[in-house]
Subunit: 202 residues, 2 copies
Amino acid sequence: MMPKFNFSVMLITPLSLTMNMNFCVICGHKTTEKIPLGDHQLRRVCTDCGNIHYINPKVICGALVIWENKVLMCRRAIEPRYGLWTLPAGYMELFETMEQGAARETREEAEAEVEIEQLYCMYNIPRIGQIYVLFKANLVDGQFGSGEETIESRLFSEDEIPWSELAFPSVERTLRHYFEDRKTNQFDMHLETLGSRLDHTG
Amino acid sequence: MMPKFNFSVMLITPLSLTMNMNFCVICGHKTTEKIPLGDHQLRRVCTDCGNIHYINPKVICGALVIWENKVLMCRRAIEPRYGLWTLPAGYMELFETMEQGAARETREEAEAEVEIEQLYCMYNIPRIGQIYVLFKANLVDGQFGSGEETIESRLFSEDEIPWSELAFPSVERTLRHYFEDRKTNQFDMHLETLGSRLDHTG
């Protein structure tokens, strides 16, 4: 049975990351695919002004937010993975730091103010050209809510985690690391490569 | 006195990161600046097909390469900072991991094969929309050379480091951390925010 959200998820393929740059953003003329002088990779290059259109990996910043030994999670009100549980995270914006990005995403998705404690998990997801940068953080005052992209937010203790309803492998990996590390109270940074899922969402 | 390379450096300004996306990469029609529905920031949006042109921070991967207690550095054959010394580093490519990016850049700039040891330094440089991800690595066989972007490569012991001829603040910070951490042989990951230089190169 195909879950309802599968079609939109399938659009996030490696191919879609590199296609469709048919016109130059600077002058509007057509682009063509070639390896620029001194480069080693095919790029979309403007046939008129020569502008090279690089496509770079994107950074996703997020937070593992703790309050009274519970983890803050958000149930997604958007595709992909509508209805599943995630940690507050999203694309890093220009001119912000990774820590600011993680705090902003938590504010937007969980209406919560956090104090960033440390860099905790980083994931390469090369198939979809993303890196995840997740910080361990604490709720400032225990308050949280549900932003526009969130159906509901909730604090989960370890035995309440909805393991079968997590939105992304990065969420599961981070939770597993946290509950394991908590046994020794030693939270070293974890760097891993993810991304063998067939639907390419890491 | 204006150094010869200053003009090209000045082109790398925050403004230049957000300007000039006048045409849609998908359909070639004009873009306009507006805040898309559900968004909080101004974006360049196509007036015809509605495509939103996000501009995201870029990831620079690099390596602090060690061989017999010396550090491998490259003298830049390109702008900005032509003639100054740097660590092998460059823009992360789509579909590679950060570790692969660091190893690839070392291969391209210093013609050296490395074994990545650990994530060592990360820098936010928000003014220019970049994050640096630097790994501690070892030369595999002691061999190195000079790639197309490099005038010469060299192994430096601590007392040979050309402190007044380093290309970027991130290079100096990383070297200072390394020689400090070496005293205790404890190489914890450093995460910092840089970027108060007037020429915006971090």
